[in-house]
Every structure is written in C-alpha cells, then in structure tokens.
Amino acid sequence: MEIEFLVFRIGDELWAIEVRRVREVVKVRSVTFVPNVPPYIVGVFNLRGQIVTLVSLAKIIGIDGSDSGDKAIVVEDSEEPLALAISDVLGVVRVDQSMLIPPPQEASELISALFRSDGKIVAVLDVDKLYEVLVRS
C-alpha cells in the first residue's frame, strides 16, 4: 500500500508529513508574538478568522539553522489546527509502506519512520506525538 507524503525542508534536513494530515500550506504574514511561552512557539496568526499557533519545528527538534521563511504547513488533529514553520515545501511523494524504515532508538520521539527519496533520508513527523509534546509542556 502506498502512502502519500508532503516532503519539506527545515534547514538542511528533509522531513515529511502524511498528506492526509495536512490541511494546507500557507504563507504567514503578521505573526503576533506571545510572551511567557517556550522558545519554540513563534506566535499566533490569523488564518481566515481562526487563531492558529505557529511553532518552530527546527527549535522543537533541535535542528541548527533557521526555518525563518514565512511558509508554514498547517496540520490538524480532531480539535484544532497547528502551523509548523518550515524552510520550504519540496513536493508530494508516494512511498510504499514496505519502504518505511523504523527510526533508530536514539532518534527523536517525533519521528515515526524514515524513508529514502532520491537517495536522501527523509524523516516522517508523527503529528499526534507533536501535539502531545506541545500540550505536555
């Protein structure tokens, strides 16, 4: 069975999110800074009347380099959307389930699997885990 992934770049790393979890890719204009929050929360912005939190994936995962583009992937769970600041969107790829590699033990808990695309390693983001981490902290 094939799964569709949206592949994107954060700094030099390639990441992917299952397409069915992606609501849209947006260009974020004015972000309102929120005081007294962890550094990975960039702020909040207005997405067609809904207030959406923008988080820096780079800071959560601990990737050097910036995601200081204005692009964000909006994902959602059953309750609310969440915007992830990223460097660039690369495109959609189809990966057969058998090609997914379980992540090594020492990898971030946010990685649910890995796959190869054009010879490069792509990490699959576990969206539910991300929500969990964010609410926990």
């Binding site: 309102t32 067609r48 959307p81």
Partner: protein, 669 residues
C-alpha cells in the same frame, strides 16, 4: 447615562408602542363600527399602564390625564356609558396628541401646551352622564348578593354560633397599592373569622380604595381588634346582618351542607390569593388587568433595552475569561474537588453564555430590507440596471455581527454593480436579460450563517486573476500553479489586487471585515454565467469591551473591567529601589508591563500607567500608549497556549492581526 434618562428612554419607547396600539384599536373600531368588550378592556389596560409609567418618571399631568381616561373606559366597561362615534373620535385625537407629547418628551421640548389641548378633549369626554353617575356611585354602599355556595358557608357559620357582620372599609392609599391592602385585609380578617364574601371578589378587580366584606366572627371585639392593625385604613363601618336579611333559611342550610366545606374553600381561596399576589408582585405591571390570560401573556415577554443586553453580554464575556483563568489555576493544584466544581461551573457558564447569545439574535431581514434601495442607488451611480432579490431574511444573527456585516456586504454589492454587471446594451448583445440581477440568500449551517451573493455579470476569470496576481507580485508563480480553482479566486482578495482595467479592487477590505468577525469569504466565478460570493459568519460571538494599549511595537487588549483608571506618568518615586506611583494621595507599586511579560524592557520611559486592583490593593503597570476602547471578539487560544500566564485569550483586530487579551492582575506579583 443617568438612571432618570434611562427610565425616560424606556418610557418613551414603551409609551410609543402603547399609543400605537390605542390608535390601532380605535381605527379598527371606527372601520368595523363594532366595539368588542375585549377592545374596551385593552384600552383600559393600556391607559392604566401609561398612567403608571408616567407616574414613575414624574410626569404627573400625563399620569392624571391617563387616569381620567381610564375612568371613562371603566364606566364603559360597567355599562354606564356608551362609546359613540364622537367619543371614539375624541379618543383618537387624544391618542395622537399623546404621541406628540411623547415626541416632545424625547426631544426635551415643552409638553404643557399639548397637555392643555388633551385636557380640553378629556373634559369634553367627561361631560355627560358619567360624571354624576360615576362619582355618586362611590359613596353608596354596594349591594351584596350571595351565591348559593356562599349561602351555605354563611348558614354553617350561623349554625356554629358565629355572628355575621358586613364591614365596609376605605383606605387612604393610592389605588395602585390597594391590591396589597386588599390582600392584607383578607388575610388579617380570615385569621379572626370566616370571610363569607369580599367585594371586590378578587384581586384583579381591585380598583377603588374601598372594599366590603361579609364576615362571620365569634365576637365583635375580634373584628375591631383586627381592624386596628390594618395599615392605611381611613374609615370603616359595620352592620350586623341577620341571615334572614340575606334571604337565607339557616335551618335548611345546615341540614344540607357539610361542615368542612367552608374551611376548605377558605383555604383554597387563600392559596389562590397568595399565588396571585406573588404573580402580580413579580410583574408589577397591569395590576388591574381583568383577564388573567392577558397578564399571563404579558409575562412571557418583557422589554429589555439593547444597552442592558449588551452589558449582560459583556459580563458573561468576563465570566468566560474568569472561567479560563480558574481552569488554569486548577491545573496547578491537584484537587479533584476543585476540578469537579470547575467542571460544573464551566458547564453553567457555557450555558449562560449560550442563553445570552440567543437573546441578542436579530433576523437578517433587518439588514436585507434596506438593500434593494441601496442597490438601486448604486445602479444609478454607475449607470447600470440592476435588481436585487433576497431570501432567508428570517435567519437570525447576533446583533453585533449583523451590525458589522453591513459594511462589507454593501462594499461587495458596490464592487458587483461597479465591476461585474454590464451596461444594458452589452448585456443584450451577450444575450443576457437587459437588467442585471443580484440574489442574496441566507441559510444556517450549525453555528454559522452562510450568506451567498449571486450575480449574473461578467465575473472573474481564474486564469486572468492568477496572471494578474503574479504580475502584481502578490503571489509566487510556482505557488500560483499549485493553487486549486477556489484558491485562485482568493488571490483577488489580496490587498492591492485589481484587474488590468482596474476592476475588482477592494475585495480585500470585504474579506478582512468578514474575517475580523471570525468568518470566511470565498468567491467562485464562471465568466459571464454566474459568479458567487460566499460569506460565512458565526451566528454569534463573545464580545468584551477592552482598552487597546501599545507596548513596544505590539498591541494588547485589556478588559475595561480590569482597569481602575489610566494615568499619564511624569515621574516615579523610588523607595528601597522599588518604583512607586503617586495615585490618589497614596504611593502604589508600579511595574513595567514588558518586564511582567518577560519581553524586551529596555525602553526606560513609558508614558502611561494602567491602575488595576488586585486583592483590594492598587498597583500600576506601565505601557507606551493607550489606543482607545473597542468591543472585541473573544477567541480562545489553542490548547498549546491554554495556560500561558497573563494571557486570557485573543482577538482579531480590524487590520487582521491577532491581538492578545491580557489579564494584568494575574501578572502582578
């Protein structure tokens, strides 16, 4: 606004309605030539209400005129006079003059000349038979007739050796208070004896300040003792009655009646009275309404001013904020009891919010009905021929939302008439009807109202929109290629967009206004066939009156209710290296809001201080600027930001930016 002024406004709006009703009834009577008992009763009730209302705000002359009209109608009800055509004409004239009086009151003009005219009219009404008959009636004792049941009661009482008295009482109170005296008398007297009959028979018929009672007592002293304790009793007289005088054969009665009946009926009557008094004191209106039905109907609806509704609404908004604060405090304490109470509290607050929201709903019709004329004007302005139709006017929306949808909807209609609808000649060439049409329809889906505006003008070509957006640098070509058809149309709502020929500019302001309401705006167009603009807005929203302040470069909202005052700061006192502000002859602690929020506080001079109260102590926080007050729509922050210290929620400002709502007192150490 002062209380007086507020009362005056309530009086004016209610009086207007009442007078309109009078005119309506009289008109109907005039046309049909028939006067029903109901209409006389209704007129009587209206003048009675007007009398009371006028008295409340100190319009004594108006009140006494209404009182006289009430008397006239009362004599009609009692069959002592007939409402002939002349009377009706006069009443109609009086009603019209009264409506002038109301207008003058509203404009703070002089009402005396009009009142004089009304008085003359009332005088001319008063002349005639009613005067002698009506007034004379009051002093002659009312004849008392007993029903069969009452005769049984009386017979029983006599058989038990009680004495029967007829008691006539007069009270020195305003007729409006008489119901209470009536009730007190009945209550007091039934303690010392058995009341066979009272006149008036029930509370609804209490009109004059007189009443009569047939009572059975053990001894006269009891009766006199009871009368001593009655408030406002001006005079009374009693006569001993013999059963024969009332046409009762005691022997026969006793044998027929059961002994317990009377007791029971007194109790049930009392219970009924108590219930009635409770009802009446609750409404405090229409005490003299003859038909219980009428007064019950009145109970189902009351008038509330929009202003107090707004206040209620704002209070609930505050309550919702407190609720979220409580929730975040509860998270820090592991107390199951607290959590349990909070769950219930949250549910109740939500329900309360729901109910209050519902109170503020108004039908869209209030907006729609003005649109056809507006579009006609636009058509004239741009030399087009356009008709507007609408449906779904019955869909209800929060009044605030409705107010704020007017502007963007009108703007959208202007863009359509200006840029999409063709001139008639061109329309005919295209094979379209010469007159353009715009159709607005509203539907409700869950918690949203969807307003669809359909038009049959040129519309928008998605390819052209895309091309133009790229040309204007509003969108990156690679991104533009990935957009869906729906998304392409959204490019036309970006700030700065217009087609090459300048058409379709200004859609950005429409979208912005709708989004600031928490709504969404979409376009779908099939060139020259049909173009559809969809506005989705929430049915209601929680609003809060807030002061917008500036700190560094950010704007924050502070709920007005949290603010004691705002002062400009010239100098601060420093005691033990703590900054203090002189406020109302006291030194109060002052903090930099930026420091409290843990953000850049390098700026050393801020000009304003917001004074807040926490645990009945004043403190102040420094801000850069106060931008003014605004009614803001409270939106919750996502769960990832639920428990941020000092942040109570967020709102979207007019420019589309998110603005955080601060809870200053939680930030103060």
């Amino acid at each position: 606004m002062s209380v007086d002024q507020e009362l005056m406004e309530v009086f004016v709006s209610e009086a207007r309605e009442l007078i309109e009703k009078v005119v309506e009834i009289l008109d109907h009577v005039n046309r049909s030539g028939e006067i029903s008992k109901e209409s006389v009763d209704e007129l009587f009730r209206i003048f009675h209400t007007l009398k009371g209302n006028a008295a409340i705000i100190g319009l004594e002359k108006v009140s006494s005129l209404c009182h006289r009209l009430e008397d006239v109608l009362q004599s009609v009800r009692e069959g002592k006079r007939i409402l002939d055509r002349d009377c009706i004409a006069k009443l109609l004239a009086i009603a019209n003059k009264l409506s002038d009086v109301v207008s003058e009151i509203e404009n703070r003009g002089d009402i005396d000349p009009i009142l004089k005219e009304i008085e003359n009219l009332v005088n001319s009404l008063d002349n005639g038979s009613i005067r002698e008959e009506g007034r004379a009636n009051q002093s002659t004792p009312v004849e008392i007739r007993l029903s069969d049941e009452e005769k049984v009661k009386l017979g029983n009482a006599v058989a038990r050796g009680l004495h029967i008295y007829r008691l006539d009482m007069r009270f020195s109170v305003d007729p409006a208070l008489m119901v209470f005296r009536y009730f007190q008398s009945i209550h007091r007297l039934s303690e010392i004896g058995e009341i066979i009959k009272a006149i008036p028979e029930n509370l609804e018929n209490v009109k004059s300040n007189e009443m009569s009672v047939v009572i059975a007592v053990k001894k006269l002293e009891d009766l006199e003792e009871a009368l001593k304790n009655l408030q406002d009793l001006e005079s009374y007289s009693y006569t001993k009655l013999k059963p024969e005088d009332l046409g009762i054969d005691v022997e026969k009665m006793v044998s027929e009646a059961s002994d317990t009946l009377s007791q029971e009926s007194v109790i049930s009557e009392l219970e009924r009275l108590v219930k009635r008094v409770e009802e009446l004191s609750e409404t405090s209106a229409s005490t003299s309404s003859t038909q219980q039905q009428a007064s019950e109907q009145k109970l189902e609806e009351i008038k509330v001013s929009v202003k107090s509704l707004d206040e209620l609404f704002n209070l609930v908004g505050e309550l919702v904020l407190i609720k979220s604060r409580l929730n975040s405090i509860a998270q820090q304490h592991d107390s199951p009891q607290l959590k349990e109470v909070l769950t219930t509290f949250s549910r109740l607050v939500n329900e309360l919010q729901d109910q209050v929201m519902r109170l503020r709903l108004v039908p869209l019709y209030q907006l729609f009905r003005s649109l056809p004329a507006y579009v006609k004007d636009l058509a004239m302005k741009y030399s087009k021929d356009v008709d507007l139709y609408y449906e779904g006017g019955e869909i209800a929306l929060d009044r605030k939302v409705l107010e704020r949808i007017v502007e963007p909807l009108k703007k959208l209609l202007e863009i359509i008439v200006r840029d999409s609808i063709e001139v008639s000649d061109l329309r005919i060439k295209k094979g379209k009807p010469s007159i353009g049409s715009i159709k607005i329809s509203a539907t409700r889906e869950g918690n949203q109202v969807i307003i669809v505006v359909e038009e049959d003008g040129v519309g928008l070509d998605p390819e052209e929109v895309k091309y133009r957006a790229i040309e204007l640098g509003l969108v990156n070509p690679t991104v533009a290629d990935k957009l869906s058809r729906e998304e392409v149309f959204l490019l036309a709502t970006l700030p700065g967009f217009s087609l090459r020929d300048g058409r379709f500019s200004g859609l950005d302001s429409v979208r912005k206004a709708i989004e600031s309401l928490g709504g969404a705006f979409e376009i779908y167009s099939h060139v020259d066939t049909e173009t559809r603009y969809t506005i989705k807005i929430p049915v209601s929203m929680a609003t809060l009156r807030a002061l917008l302040i500036k700190l560094n470069d950010d704007v924050y909202a502070v709920p007005i209710s949290n603010i004691v005052t705002i002062v400009s700061v010239d100098s601060l006192d420093t005691v033990a290296s703590k900054n203090l502000l002189r406020f109302q002859d006291k030194l109060i602690p002052i903090y930099d809001l930026a420091t409290l929020l843990g953000i850049d506080s390098s700026k050393d001079k801020r000009r304003y201080a917001i004074v807040v109260e926490k645990r009945s102590k004043y403190s102040a926080v420094l801000v850069d600027e106060a931008l003014g007050q605004e009614d803001i729509v409270v939106k919750a922050l996502g769960k990832t930001l639920r428990n941020v210290k000092g942040i109570a929620g967020a709102t979207i400002l007019g420019d589309g930016r998110v603005c955080l709502i601060l809870d200053i007192s939680s930030l103060i150490p």
